[in-house]
Amino acid sequence: MNKWSRMFLVPGMGHCMGGSAALDQFDMLSAIVDWVEKDKAPDSIISTGNAFPGRSRPLCPYPKYAHYKGSGDYEKAENFECR
């Protein structure tokens, strides 16, 4: 199933958008285009949002979720990994 379907849960987000602790801005459209046209499935998608200005996190395909790698700025997505 992982070959044709991946589910990304957005922590804290309400219905489609918002939520007091949500990073609710992310680009899944580019991800689906890459998947359909370049056969490149998304392993993570970067999210940002007004709830935490300056913060970014990877959204992960279920059942993986974002883990801090243990070093580096914890406001930056690059210091997290999906596992």
């Binding site: 958008m17 801005q25 680009d27 459209l29 580019s30 285009v33 949002g49």
Partner: protein
């Protein structure tokens, strides 16, 4: 199921929209109002050339960048009919065809129980660049009924309207794209 149909709609749409990709002139666009599709019960209610304009305020975190590109917007209804309790039904839809089309089609979803044709901009999960600003053609439908809000379930009294809402509308609209 809904997702699968949307993906099928994507492929079908890419192929059959091609002839209208060049619909950039206002004249070509407005002529689409006279479009009749043999064998399909579709009424085009409006076809209008829309110049470049600003995007609405983003409901998401960081706002939108860019502008709505010049495009042709076509509004219509499929299979209009009188249903249960003498209420008018039909699958209302709108499609935006950008002058500078990138060859892709996005079939936009509705909110709640739907019942309204939302502007086909493709804002959901598109980051700060709605699909239309990227050159996608975007389709939006009301799923086959008019609601007094996105949680108005009165249409469930009508079997065809219910089936349209559940899944049929997506396939029908995708096919209609030729």
């Amino acid at each position: 199921m809904l997702k699968n149909l949307s993906i099928i709609a994507l492929f079908v749409g890419i192929v059959i929209l091609l002839p209208y990709a060049q619909a950039e002139s206002a004249e070509t666009c407005s002529k689409l109002v006279d479009l009749h599709i043999p064998g399909m019960d579709v009424e085009i209610t409006g076809a209008k050339s829309i110049p470049s304009s600003t995007l609405p305020k983003s409901p998401f975190g960081g706002g939108f960048s860019g502008t709505i590109p010049p495009h042709c917007r076509v509004d219509g209804v499929m299979e209009p009919r009188i249903g249960v309790n003498d209420i008018s039904y039909g699958i209302g839809f709108a499609i935006t065809l950008p002058a500078d089309w990138n060859g892709r089609l996005l079939f936009q979803g509705g909110g709640g129980l739907n019942g309204t044709v939302q502007d086909p901009l493709g804002i959901n999960a598109s980051g700060d660049k709605p699909a239309l600003t990227r050159g996608f053609a975007v389709v939006s439908t009301d799923s086959g009924h008019k609601g007094k809000g996105s949680f108005d379930g009165d249409f469930l009294a009508d079997q065809e309207a219910t089936l349209n809402f559940l899944y049929q509308a997506n396939g029908k609209i995708a096919e209609q794209r030729k």
